[in-house]
Protein backbone atom coordinates (compact mmCIF):
# COMPACT_ATOMS: atom_id res chain seq x y z
CA UNK A 1 0.00 0.00 0.00
CA UNK A 2 2.69 2.44 1.04
CA UNK A 3 4.75 1.59 -1.94
CA UNK A 4 1.85 2.23 -4.24
CA UNK A 5 1.02 5.55 -2.61
CA UNK A 6 4.54 6.84 -3.05
CA UNK A 7 4.25 6.20 -6.76
CA UNK A 8 1.18 8.40 -7.14
CA UNK A 9 3.20 11.46 -8.13
CA UNK A 10 1.96 15.03 -7.56
CA UNK A 11 -1.62 15.72 -6.67
CA UNK A 12 -3.60 18.16 -8.81
CA UNK A 13 -3.23 20.82 -6.12
CA UNK A 14 0.50 20.34 -5.98
CA UNK A 15 0.69 20.55 -9.74
CA UNK A 16 -1.38 23.75 -9.83
CA UNK A 17 0.77 25.40 -7.18
CA UNK A 18 3.96 24.31 -8.87
CA UNK A 19 2.87 25.39 -12.35
CA UNK A 20 1.58 28.76 -11.16
CA UNK A 21 4.85 29.43 -9.36
CA UNK A 22 6.72 28.29 -12.44
CA UNK A 23 4.57 30.50 -14.64
CA UNK A 24 5.17 33.52 -12.41
CA UNK A 25 8.89 32.93 -12.57
CA UNK A 26 8.75 32.57 -16.36
CA UNK A 27 6.69 35.77 -16.67
CA UNK A 28 9.15 37.71 -14.55
CA UNK A 29 12.04 36.34 -16.59
CA UNK A 30 10.27 37.24 -19.83
CA UNK A 31 9.65 40.81 -18.74
CA UNK A 32 13.29 41.07 -17.66
CA UNK A 33 14.31 39.70 -21.03
CA UNK A 34 12.09 42.26 -22.76
CA UNK A 35 13.66 45.05 -20.69
CA UNK A 36 17.06 43.73 -21.63
CA UNK A 37 16.18 43.62 -25.30
CA UNK A 38 14.80 47.17 -25.17
CA UNK A 39 17.96 48.38 -23.48
CA UNK A 40 20.09 46.60 -26.07
CA UNK A 41 18.08 48.29 -28.81
CA UNK A 42 18.53 51.69 -27.21
CA UNK A 43 22.24 51.11 -26.69
CA UNK A 44 22.62 50.01 -30.32
CA UNK A 45 20.82 53.14 -31.51
CA UNK A 46 22.92 55.40 -29.34
CA UNK A 47 26.18 53.72 -30.27
CA UNK A 48 25.31 54.04 -33.93
CA UNK A 49 24.40 57.74 -33.61
CA UNK A 50 27.47 58.52 -31.54
CA UNK A 51 29.72 56.73 -33.97
CA UNK A 52 28.33 58.75 -36.87
CA UNK A 53 28.64 62.02 -34.98
CA UNK A 54 32.16 61.21 -33.88
CA UNK A 55 33.20 60.40 -37.44
CA UNK A 56 31.57 63.57 -38.75
CA UNK A 57 33.11 65.87 -36.15
CA UNK A 58 36.57 64.34 -36.23
CA UNK A 59 36.90 64.49 -39.99
CA UNK A 60 35.59 68.04 -40.23
CA UNK A 61 37.78 69.13 -37.32
CA UNK A 62 40.89 67.81 -39.08
CA UNK A 63 40.15 69.47 -42.39
CA UNK A 64 39.08 72.78 -40.85
CA UNK A 65 42.10 72.99 -38.57
CA UNK A 66 44.36 72.57 -41.61
CA UNK A 67 42.62 75.35 -43.54
CA UNK A 68 45.00 77.90 -44.97
CA UNK A 69 48.16 75.79 -44.72
CA UNK A 70 50.54 76.74 -47.51
CA UNK A 71 48.35 79.38 -49.11
CA UNK A 72 48.55 83.18 -48.69
CA UNK A 73 46.67 84.53 -45.69
CA UNK A 74 44.58 86.85 -47.84
CA UNK A 75 43.49 84.02 -50.10
CA UNK A 76 44.65 83.02 -53.56
CA UNK A 77 43.82 85.26 -56.45
CA UNK A 78 42.21 83.24 -59.23
CA UNK A 79 41.85 84.02 -62.90
CA UNK A 80 39.78 86.99 -63.96
CA UNK A 81 38.71 85.19 -67.13
CA UNK A 82 35.98 83.19 -65.42
CA UNK A 83 34.39 82.18 -62.18
CA UNK A 84 36.02 79.10 -60.65
CA UNK A 85 33.92 76.55 -58.85
CA UNK A 86 34.28 74.18 -55.94
CA UNK A 87 32.27 71.14 -54.92
CA UNK A 88 31.92 69.73 -58.44
CA UNK A 89 33.11 66.42 -59.89
CA UNK A 90 34.50 65.68 -63.36
CA UNK A 91 31.10 64.63 -64.67
CA UNK A 92 29.79 68.15 -64.10
CA UNK A 93 27.74 67.37 -60.99
CA UNK A 94 27.93 70.28 -58.58
CA UNK A 95 27.11 69.22 -55.05
CA UNK A 96 26.89 72.66 -53.47
CA UNK A 97 24.42 75.24 -54.69
CA UNK A 98 26.21 78.42 -55.78
CA UNK A 99 29.60 76.81 -55.21
CA UNK A 100 31.75 79.56 -56.68
CA UNK A 101 34.57 81.41 -54.99
CA UNK A 102 33.51 84.78 -53.66
CA UNK A 103 34.29 87.58 -56.08
CA UNK A 104 33.75 91.25 -55.68
CA UNK A 105 32.41 91.94 -59.18
CA UNK A 106 32.01 90.19 -62.51
CA UNK A 107 35.20 90.16 -64.48
CA UNK A 108 37.37 90.85 -61.47
CA UNK A 109 39.55 88.11 -60.02
CA UNK A 110 37.82 85.88 -57.55
CA UNK A 111 39.57 84.75 -54.41
CA UNK A 112 40.09 81.28 -53.11
CA UNK A 113 39.91 81.79 -49.37
CA UNK A 114 41.14 79.20 -46.93
CA UNK A 115 37.54 78.69 -45.85
CA UNK A 116 34.52 79.14 -48.06
CA UNK A 117 31.47 79.45 -45.83
CA UNK A 118 28.38 78.04 -47.50
CA UNK A 119 25.56 79.45 -45.43
CA UNK A 120 22.27 77.80 -46.34
CA UNK A 121 23.81 75.60 -49.04
CA UNK A 122 24.35 72.54 -46.89
CA UNK A 123 22.12 70.06 -48.70
CA UNK A 124 22.82 68.87 -52.23
CA UNK A 125 20.11 70.08 -54.64
CA UNK A 126 18.42 71.79 -51.66
CA UNK A 127 16.70 68.48 -50.89
CA UNK A 128 14.37 68.40 -47.89
CA UNK A 129 15.60 66.49 -44.88
CA UNK A 130 12.51 64.70 -43.64
CA UNK A 131 13.68 64.49 -40.05
CA UNK A 132 14.47 68.20 -39.80
CA UNK A 133 12.55 70.19 -42.40
CA UNK A 134 12.82 73.95 -42.32
CA UNK A 135 16.22 73.94 -40.63
CA UNK A 136 19.19 75.81 -42.03
CA UNK A 137 22.00 73.57 -43.21
CA UNK A 138 25.33 74.94 -44.28
CA UNK A 139 28.27 73.59 -46.20
CA UNK A 140 31.89 74.38 -45.52
CA UNK A 141 34.92 74.27 -47.79
CA UNK A 142 38.42 74.16 -46.41
CA UNK A 143 41.47 74.79 -48.61
CA UNK A 144 45.03 73.79 -47.77
CA UNK A 145 48.20 72.46 -49.33
CA UNK A 146 48.56 68.71 -49.13
CA UNK A 147 52.05 68.10 -47.85
CA UNK A 148 51.54 64.36 -47.73
CA UNK A 149 52.13 64.06 -51.42
CA UNK A 150 55.62 65.49 -51.91
CA UNK A 151 55.36 67.45 -55.14
CA UNK A 152 58.59 69.12 -54.03
CA UNK A 153 60.22 65.93 -55.25
CA UNK A 154 59.41 66.97 -58.82
CA UNK A 155 60.37 69.70 -61.23
CA UNK A 156 57.74 71.21 -63.45
CA UNK A 157 58.46 72.71 -66.85
CA UNK A 158 55.48 74.66 -68.15
CA UNK A 159 55.54 75.65 -71.84
CA UNK A 160 54.50 79.20 -72.82
CA UNK A 161 51.12 78.01 -74.05
CA UNK A 162 50.34 77.04 -70.47
CA UNK A 163 48.18 74.00 -71.05
CA UNK A 164 50.54 71.26 -69.92
CA UNK A 165 53.54 70.57 -67.75
CA UNK A 166 56.46 68.22 -68.04
CA UNK A 167 57.27 66.57 -64.76
CA UNK A 168 60.80 65.62 -63.83
CA UNK A 169 62.04 63.82 -60.75
CA UNK A 170 64.61 65.69 -58.68
CA UNK A 171 65.77 62.74 -56.63
CA UNK A 172 64.85 59.30 -57.86
CA UNK A 173 65.96 57.79 -54.57
CA UNK A 174 63.09 59.39 -52.73
CA UNK A 175 59.82 57.52 -52.97
CA UNK A 176 57.23 58.13 -54.20
CA UNK A 177 59.04 59.40 -57.29
CA UNK A 178 56.08 58.85 -59.52
CA UNK A 179 53.10 61.17 -59.79
CA UNK A 180 51.00 58.10 -60.47
CA UNK A 181 52.08 56.44 -57.22
CA UNK A 182 49.21 55.32 -54.99
CA UNK A 183 47.67 58.42 -53.47
CA UNK A 184 49.25 60.46 -56.26
CA UNK A 185 47.67 62.84 -58.70
CA UNK A 186 44.33 62.16 -60.37
CA UNK A 187 42.38 63.97 -63.04
CA UNK A 188 40.46 66.65 -61.19
CA UNK A 189 43.21 67.38 -58.67
CA UNK A 190 44.25 71.00 -58.19
CA UNK A 191 47.87 72.08 -58.23
CA UNK A 192 49.08 75.39 -56.91
CA UNK A 193 52.11 76.62 -58.86
CA UNK A 194 54.11 79.41 -57.30
CA UNK A 195 57.01 81.19 -58.94
CA UNK A 196 59.43 83.04 -56.69
CA UNK A 197 62.66 84.91 -57.23
CA UNK A 198 65.30 85.44 -54.54
CA UNK A 199 65.83 88.75 -52.84
CA UNK A 200 63.41 91.33 -51.60
CA UNK A 201 66.00 93.83 -50.41
CA UNK A 202 64.60 93.66 -46.91
CA UNK A 203 67.49 91.88 -45.35
CA UNK A 204 71.19 92.38 -46.01
CA UNK A 205 71.61 88.92 -47.42
CA UNK A 206 68.67 89.40 -49.76
CA UNK A 207 67.87 85.74 -49.93
CA UNK A 208 64.25 85.74 -48.94
CA UNK A 209 61.92 84.81 -51.77
CA UNK A 210 59.49 87.10 -53.51
CA UNK A 211 56.45 85.57 -55.06
CA UNK A 212 56.05 86.59 -58.69
CA UNK A 213 53.12 84.54 -59.82
CA UNK A 214 50.79 81.93 -58.47
CA UNK A 215 48.13 79.97 -60.22
CA UNK A 216 45.76 77.17 -59.38
CA UNK A 217 45.42 74.69 -62.24
CA UNK A 218 43.20 71.66 -62.56
CA UNK A 219 44.70 68.42 -63.89
CA UNK A 220 42.63 67.36 -66.88
CA UNK A 221 44.83 64.53 -68.06
CA UNK A 222 47.86 62.50 -67.03
CA UNK A 223 49.25 61.10 -70.29
CA UNK A 224 52.25 59.52 -68.55
CA UNK A 225 54.05 59.62 -65.24
CA UNK A 226 56.12 62.54 -66.52
CA UNK A 227 53.40 64.71 -68.01
CA UNK A 228 50.31 66.56 -66.89
CA UNK A 229 47.66 68.28 -68.99
CA UNK A 230 45.81 71.41 -67.93
CA UNK A 231 43.32 71.89 -70.76
CA UNK A 232 40.87 74.76 -70.78
CA UNK A 233 37.20 74.04 -70.21
CA UNK A 234 37.95 71.99 -67.10
CA UNK A 235 35.17 70.97 -64.75
CA UNK A 236 36.08 73.47 -62.02
CA UNK A 237 36.79 76.39 -64.36
CA UNK A 238 40.39 76.99 -63.33
CA UNK A 239 42.31 76.66 -66.61
CA UNK A 240 42.23 79.77 -68.80
CA UNK A 241 44.34 80.98 -71.68
CA UNK A 242 43.35 84.61 -71.12
CA UNK A 243 43.02 86.98 -68.21
CA UNK A 244 45.24 87.19 -65.16
CA UNK A 245 46.65 84.36 -63.12
CA UNK A 246 46.81 81.65 -65.73
CA UNK A 247 49.45 79.03 -66.41
CA UNK A 248 50.99 81.07 -69.21
CA UNK A 249 51.69 83.84 -66.69
CA UNK A 250 53.45 81.32 -64.46
CA UNK A 251 55.40 80.05 -67.48
CA UNK A 252 56.68 83.53 -68.35
CA UNK A 253 57.50 84.34 -64.72
CA UNK A 254 59.32 81.03 -64.41
CA UNK A 255 61.49 81.96 -67.41
CA UNK A 256 62.88 84.94 -65.46
CA UNK A 257 66.41 84.87 -64.06
CA UNK A 258 66.76 82.88 -60.86
CA UNK A 259 63.08 82.04 -60.74
CA UNK A 260 62.04 78.96 -58.81
CA UNK A 261 58.79 77.13 -59.43
CA UNK A 262 57.24 75.21 -56.62
CA UNK A 263 54.09 73.18 -56.66
CA UNK A 264 51.76 71.67 -54.14
CA UNK A 265 48.60 69.70 -54.47
CA UNK A 266 45.70 71.68 -53.06
CA UNK A 267 43.05 69.99 -51.01
CA UNK A 268 39.77 71.81 -51.48
CA UNK A 269 37.56 69.84 -49.13
CA UNK A 270 33.82 70.45 -49.07
CA UNK A 271 31.40 69.00 -46.51
CA UNK A 272 27.69 68.93 -47.19
CA UNK A 273 24.64 66.74 -46.63
CA UNK A 274 23.12 64.52 -49.25
CA UNK A 275 19.69 62.89 -49.28
CA UNK A 276 20.30 59.83 -51.45
CA UNK A 277 17.48 58.42 -53.52
CA UNK A 278 17.80 54.75 -54.47
CA UNK A 279 15.17 53.12 -56.66
CA UNK A 280 12.75 55.98 -56.10
CA UNK A 281 13.02 55.65 -52.30
CA UNK A 282 14.29 58.62 -50.34
CA UNK A 283 16.93 57.42 -47.92
CA UNK A 284 18.25 58.99 -44.76
CA UNK A 285 20.61 61.96 -45.16
CA UNK A 286 24.34 61.53 -44.83
CA UNK A 287 27.41 63.70 -44.52
CA UNK A 288 29.56 63.82 -47.65
CA UNK A 289 33.17 64.86 -48.13
CA UNK A 290 34.24 66.04 -51.54
CA UNK A 291 37.82 66.84 -52.55
CA UNK A 292 38.97 69.00 -55.52
CA UNK A 293 37.21 67.84 -58.72
CA UNK A 294 36.65 64.29 -57.53
CA UNK A 295 33.48 62.46 -56.59
CA UNK A 296 32.02 63.03 -53.15
CA UNK A 297 32.23 60.16 -50.70
CA UNK A 298 29.94 59.56 -47.71
CA UNK A 299 31.66 59.84 -44.35
CA UNK A 300 28.83 59.63 -41.81
CA UNK A 301 25.29 58.32 -42.04
CA UNK A 302 22.13 59.81 -40.62
CA UNK A 303 23.31 63.35 -40.11
CA UNK A 304 20.16 65.45 -40.17
CA UNK A 305 21.49 68.91 -39.47
CA UNK A 306 24.81 70.63 -40.17
CA UNK A 307 25.49 74.18 -39.05
CA UNK A 308 28.52 76.43 -38.76
CA UNK A 309 29.22 79.79 -37.26
CA UNK A 310 32.45 81.73 -37.49
CA UNK A 311 34.42 83.95 -35.17
CA UNK A 312 35.84 86.52 -37.53
CA UNK A 313 37.89 89.69 -37.19
CA UNK A 314 35.95 92.72 -38.35
CA UNK A 315 38.52 94.66 -40.36
CA UNK A 316 36.76 97.98 -39.83
CA UNK A 317 36.78 97.79 -36.06
CA UNK A 318 39.70 95.38 -35.62
CA UNK A 319 37.76 93.36 -33.07
CA UNK A 320 36.55 89.79 -33.11
CA UNK A 321 32.91 89.27 -33.92
CA UNK A 322 31.76 85.88 -32.65
CA UNK A 323 29.21 83.47 -34.06
CA UNK A 324 28.68 84.91 -37.52
CA UNK A 325 26.71 82.56 -39.74
CA UNK A 326 27.85 84.11 -42.98
CA UNK A 327 31.01 86.18 -42.54
CA UNK A 328 30.83 87.97 -45.88
CA UNK A 329 29.77 91.56 -45.60
CA UNK A 330 30.91 94.95 -44.45
CA UNK A 331 34.28 94.55 -42.75
CA UNK A 332 34.09 90.78 -42.79
CA UNK A 333 35.89 88.40 -45.07
CA UNK A 334 36.38 84.63 -45.01
CA UNK A 335 40.10 85.30 -44.91
CA UNK A 336 39.66 86.78 -41.42
CA UNK A 337 38.02 83.70 -39.90
CA UNK A 338 39.72 82.74 -36.66
CA UNK A 339 37.51 80.01 -35.27
CA UNK A 340 34.84 77.76 -36.70
CA UNK A 341 32.03 76.55 -34.44
CA UNK A 342 30.22 73.53 -35.73
CA UNK A 343 27.03 71.70 -34.82
CA UNK A 344 26.07 68.29 -36.07
CA UNK A 345 22.81 66.55 -35.30
CA UNK A 346 22.45 62.84 -35.83
CA UNK A 347 19.68 60.33 -35.61
CA UNK A 348 19.71 56.56 -35.48
CA UNK A 349 18.76 54.55 -38.52
CA UNK A 350 17.52 51.75 -36.32
CA UNK A 351 14.11 52.66 -34.99
CA UNK A 352 12.55 50.98 -32.03
CA UNK A 353 8.99 51.07 -33.29
CA UNK A 354 8.94 54.69 -34.42
CA UNK A 355 11.50 55.94 -31.95
CA UNK A 356 14.87 56.95 -33.23
CA UNK A 357 17.54 58.20 -30.84
CA UNK A 358 18.69 61.73 -31.61
CA UNK A 359 21.67 63.57 -30.30
CA UNK A 360 23.92 66.43 -31.25
CA UNK A 361 27.57 67.23 -30.99
CA UNK A 362 29.07 70.70 -31.09
CA UNK A 363 32.65 71.81 -31.03
CA UNK A 364 34.93 74.64 -32.09
CA UNK A 365 38.05 74.52 -34.23
CA UNK A 366 40.77 77.12 -34.36
CA UNK A 367 41.95 77.80 -37.91
CA UNK A 368 45.59 77.87 -36.90
CA UNK A 369 47.07 78.59 -40.29
CA UNK A 370 44.74 81.50 -40.89
CA UNK A 371 45.67 83.26 -37.69
CA UNK A 372 49.29 82.20 -37.76
CA UNK A 373 51.85 84.95 -37.94
CA UNK A 374 55.49 84.06 -38.44
CA UNK A 375 57.16 86.62 -36.24
CA UNK A 376 60.62 85.34 -37.14
CA UNK A 377 60.44 86.14 -40.86
CA UNK A 378 58.99 89.58 -40.36
CA UNK A 379 61.25 92.59 -40.01
CA UNK A 380 58.55 94.38 -38.05
CA UNK A 381 57.05 93.37 -34.75
CA UNK A 382 53.52 93.36 -36.11
CA UNK A 383 52.98 89.86 -34.86
CA UNK A 384 53.84 90.69 -31.28
Amino acid sequence: MRMNKSQHGFSLLELLVASSIGLTVILVMTSLFKTGMDATMKVTQRAETQQNLRAAVQLMTKDISLAGGGIPSGGLQLSSAGVSKFGCNQAGTCYVTGGTYPNSATGSPNYMYAIEPGFGTGVQNAAVITAAPGQTNSSITSVYCDYNFPLSNFTFAIPAAGTSATVGVINAAITPNNILAPGGLQVGDLILFTVSTPGNGKSASGTSLVQNAAVVAEVTGIPSNTALTFATGDALNFNFATGTNNLAAVASAAAGAGAQTSACRLQVVTYFLQVPVAGGTVQTPRLMRQVNGLNAVPVADNIINLQFTYDVIDSTTGTVVANQQNPIGAGESPSLIQKVNLWVMGTSLTTDGNRAQNMYLATAVSTRDMSFCNSYSSSTTACQ
Binding site: V43, R46, P133, A322, A362
Partner: protein, 209 residues
Amino acid sequence: MMQKKISKAQAGKRDRENGFSLIEVMIAIVVMSVGILAVIASFATAVAATQSAEEDLIARQKVLEAMESIYTARNSQQIPFAAVANVSNGGIFVDGAQPLLCAGADGLVGTGDDVACKTQAGANCPDGGAECMVLPGNDGILGTADDVTMSLGNFSRTIAINTVLYPAGSPNAGQVNPNMMAITITISYTKAGLPARSFTANGLISSYH
Protein backbone atom coordinates in the same frame (compact mmCIF):
# COMPACT_ATOMS: atom_id res chain seq x y z
CA MET B 1 9.35 -9.37 10.73
CA MET B 2 11.75 -10.14 8.01
CA GLN B 3 9.23 -9.27 5.37
CA LYS B 4 8.42 -6.02 7.06
CA LYS B 5 12.06 -5.06 7.32
CA ILE B 6 12.63 -5.69 3.68
CA SER B 7 9.55 -3.84 2.67
CA LYS B 8 10.59 -0.93 4.86
CA ALA B 9 13.97 -0.87 3.24
CA GLN B 10 12.38 -1.09 -0.16
CA ALA B 11 9.98 1.63 0.74
CA GLY B 12 12.89 3.85 1.78
CA LYS B 13 14.63 3.11 -1.44
CA ARG B 14 11.52 4.05 -3.38
CA ASP B 15 11.26 7.29 -1.41
CA ARG B 16 14.71 8.28 -2.50
CA GLU B 17 13.86 7.46 -6.10
CA ASN B 18 10.86 9.76 -6.01
CA GLY B 19 13.00 12.72 -7.21
CA PHE B 20 12.84 16.26 -5.82
CA SER B 21 10.02 17.32 -3.58
CA LEU B 22 8.12 20.51 -4.33
CA ILE B 23 9.94 22.25 -1.46
CA GLU B 24 13.27 21.25 -2.91
CA VAL B 25 12.29 22.52 -6.35
CA MET B 26 11.08 25.83 -4.92
CA ILE B 27 14.27 26.29 -2.96
CA ALA B 28 16.22 25.54 -6.13
CA ILE B 29 14.19 28.12 -8.05
CA VAL B 30 14.84 30.75 -5.35
CA VAL B 31 18.57 30.01 -5.45
CA MET B 32 18.54 30.17 -9.24
CA SER B 33 16.63 33.46 -9.21
CA VAL B 34 19.17 35.01 -6.87
CA GLY B 35 21.93 33.97 -9.25
CA ILE B 36 20.11 35.26 -12.32
CA LEU B 37 19.26 38.53 -10.58
CA ALA B 38 22.93 39.04 -9.86
CA VAL B 39 23.69 38.57 -13.54
CA ILE B 40 20.91 41.02 -14.45
CA ALA B 41 22.29 43.55 -11.97
CA SER B 42 25.65 43.46 -13.71
CA PHE B 43 23.82 43.84 -17.00
CA ALA B 44 22.11 46.97 -15.64
CA THR B 45 25.52 48.38 -14.69
CA ALA B 46 26.70 47.79 -18.23
CA VAL B 47 23.63 49.55 -19.63
CA ALA B 48 24.19 52.49 -17.28
CA ALA B 49 27.79 52.76 -18.45
CA THR B 50 26.66 52.83 -22.07
CA GLN B 51 24.08 55.47 -21.27
CA SER B 52 26.76 57.78 -19.98
CA ALA B 53 28.76 57.25 -23.19
CA GLU B 54 26.75 60.05 -24.80
CA GLU B 55 27.70 62.50 -22.06
CA ASP B 56 31.28 61.26 -22.19
CA LEU B 57 31.46 62.09 -25.88
CA ILE B 58 29.97 65.55 -25.32
CA ALA B 59 32.26 66.24 -22.35
CA ARG B 60 35.33 65.28 -24.32
CA GLN B 61 34.34 67.57 -27.17
CA LYS B 62 33.55 70.45 -24.78
CA VAL B 63 37.00 70.19 -23.23
CA LEU B 64 38.61 70.46 -26.66
CA GLU B 65 36.30 73.31 -27.63
CA ALA B 66 37.31 75.41 -24.61
CA MET B 67 40.97 74.68 -25.26
CA GLU B 68 40.62 75.63 -28.94
CA SER B 69 39.03 78.95 -28.11
CA ILE B 70 41.97 79.94 -25.91
CA TYR B 71 44.53 79.05 -28.57
CA THR B 72 42.48 80.95 -31.13
CA ALA B 73 42.45 84.04 -28.96
CA ARG B 74 46.21 83.82 -28.54
CA ASN B 75 46.77 83.28 -32.29
CA SER B 76 44.51 86.11 -33.38
CA GLN B 77 46.05 88.39 -30.74
CA GLN B 78 42.61 89.48 -29.67
CA ILE B 79 43.73 89.18 -26.07
CA PRO B 80 47.18 89.94 -24.70
CA PHE B 81 49.05 86.95 -23.34
CA ALA B 82 48.74 88.37 -19.82
CA ALA B 83 44.97 87.90 -20.08
CA VAL B 84 45.42 84.14 -20.41
CA ALA B 85 44.95 83.64 -16.67
CA ASN B 86 42.16 83.22 -14.17
CA VAL B 87 40.34 86.33 -12.97
CA SER B 88 41.93 85.85 -9.53
CA ASN B 89 45.33 86.24 -11.20
CA GLY B 90 44.41 89.25 -13.29
CA GLY B 91 43.22 87.32 -16.35
CA ILE B 92 39.85 86.92 -17.99
CA PHE B 93 38.92 83.30 -17.29
CA VAL B 94 36.44 82.93 -14.46
CA ASP B 95 37.70 80.78 -11.57
CA GLY B 96 35.97 77.62 -10.42
CA ALA B 97 33.30 75.40 -11.91
CA GLN B 98 30.95 77.32 -14.19
CA PRO B 99 27.85 76.33 -16.12
CA LEU B 100 28.29 75.75 -19.86
CA LEU B 101 27.21 79.18 -21.05
CA CYS B 102 27.86 80.27 -24.62
CA ALA B 103 30.74 82.48 -25.69
CA GLY B 104 30.02 86.18 -25.66
CA ALA B 105 31.39 88.79 -28.03
CA ASP B 106 34.95 87.61 -27.50
CA GLY B 107 34.27 84.09 -28.79
CA LEU B 108 35.85 82.68 -25.62
CA VAL B 109 33.99 80.40 -23.25
CA GLY B 110 34.58 80.64 -19.52
CA THR B 111 35.01 84.42 -19.49
CA GLY B 112 32.96 87.10 -17.75
CA ASP B 113 31.07 88.11 -20.88
CA ASP B 114 29.57 84.66 -21.49
CA VAL B 115 25.92 84.81 -22.45
CA ALA B 116 22.95 82.50 -22.04
CA CYS B 117 22.63 80.11 -24.95
CA LYS B 118 19.68 80.08 -27.30
CA THR B 119 18.19 77.31 -29.38
CA GLN B 120 18.30 77.43 -33.18
CA ALA B 121 14.81 78.91 -33.10
CA GLY B 122 16.00 81.70 -30.80
CA ALA B 123 14.34 80.48 -27.59
CA ASN B 124 16.26 80.71 -24.35
CA CYS B 125 17.87 77.53 -23.17
CA PRO B 126 16.63 76.10 -19.86
CA ASP B 127 18.84 75.56 -16.79
CA GLY B 128 20.03 79.16 -16.64
CA GLY B 129 21.05 79.31 -20.28
CA ALA B 130 23.43 76.37 -20.35
CA GLU B 131 24.06 75.09 -23.84
CA CYS B 132 21.09 73.22 -25.28
CA MET B 133 19.76 71.95 -28.52
CA VAL B 134 16.30 71.02 -29.69
CA LEU B 135 16.16 67.45 -30.94
CA PRO B 136 13.35 65.62 -32.73
CA GLY B 137 10.96 63.89 -30.33
CA ASN B 138 9.25 60.53 -30.65
CA ASP B 139 7.96 61.29 -34.13
CA GLY B 140 11.55 61.68 -35.36
CA ILE B 141 10.82 65.05 -36.96
CA LEU B 142 12.37 68.33 -35.85
CA GLY B 143 10.03 71.30 -35.65
CA THR B 144 6.98 69.48 -34.32
CA ALA B 145 5.23 69.84 -30.96
CA ASP B 146 6.92 66.82 -29.39
CA ASP B 147 10.48 68.11 -29.86
CA VAL B 148 12.70 67.63 -26.86
CA THR B 149 15.34 70.03 -25.63
CA MET B 150 18.63 68.46 -24.68
CA SER B 151 20.25 70.67 -22.08
CA LEU B 152 23.79 70.54 -20.81
CA GLY B 153 22.59 72.03 -17.51
CA ASN B 154 24.10 69.06 -15.66
CA PHE B 155 27.56 69.92 -16.97
CA SER B 156 30.12 72.26 -15.47
CA ARG B 157 33.36 73.63 -16.83
CA THR B 158 36.44 74.60 -14.87
CA ILE B 159 39.27 76.46 -16.55
CA ALA B 160 42.37 76.65 -14.37
CA ILE B 161 45.43 78.46 -15.66
CA ASN B 162 48.67 78.19 -13.76
CA THR B 163 52.18 79.43 -14.14
CA VAL B 164 54.94 77.14 -15.37
CA LEU B 165 58.43 76.97 -13.94
CA TYR B 166 61.56 76.70 -16.03
CA PRO B 167 62.72 73.09 -16.01
CA ALA B 168 65.63 71.87 -13.94
CA GLY B 169 68.93 72.32 -15.71
CA SER B 170 67.88 75.45 -17.58
CA PRO B 171 69.56 78.80 -16.75
CA ASN B 172 66.49 80.08 -14.89
CA ALA B 173 65.58 76.75 -13.30
CA GLY B 174 62.86 77.06 -10.73
CA GLN B 175 61.74 80.53 -11.78
CA VAL B 176 58.38 81.31 -13.33
CA ASN B 177 58.44 81.21 -17.12
CA PRO B 178 56.70 84.43 -18.18
CA ASN B 179 56.05 83.12 -21.68
CA MET B 180 54.21 79.97 -20.81
CA MET B 181 51.07 79.02 -18.95
CA ALA B 182 49.55 75.65 -18.14
CA ILE B 183 45.84 75.27 -18.89
CA THR B 184 43.74 72.62 -17.23
CA ILE B 185 40.17 72.33 -18.42
CA THR B 186 37.79 70.02 -16.63
CA ILE B 187 34.26 69.22 -17.72
CA SER B 188 32.18 67.41 -15.11
CA TYR B 189 28.68 66.16 -15.32
CA THR B 190 26.19 64.47 -13.11
CA LYS B 191 23.50 62.07 -14.17
CA ALA B 192 20.80 60.54 -12.02
CA GLY B 193 21.82 57.12 -10.74
CA LEU B 194 25.43 57.47 -11.80
CA PRO B 195 28.46 58.82 -10.01
CA ALA B 196 29.70 62.21 -11.26
CA ARG B 197 32.15 61.89 -14.11
CA SER B 198 34.69 64.37 -15.36
CA PHE B 199 37.06 64.83 -18.26
CA THR B 200 40.25 66.83 -18.00
CA ALA B 201 42.62 68.08 -20.64
CA ASN B 202 45.95 69.69 -19.92
CA GLY B 203 47.74 71.97 -22.31
CA LEU B 204 50.60 74.41 -22.38
CA ILE B 205 50.28 77.73 -24.12
CA SER B 206 53.20 79.97 -24.98
CA SER B 207 53.14 83.65 -25.79
CA TYR B 208 54.77 82.90 -29.14
CA HIS B 209 52.64 81.98 -32.08
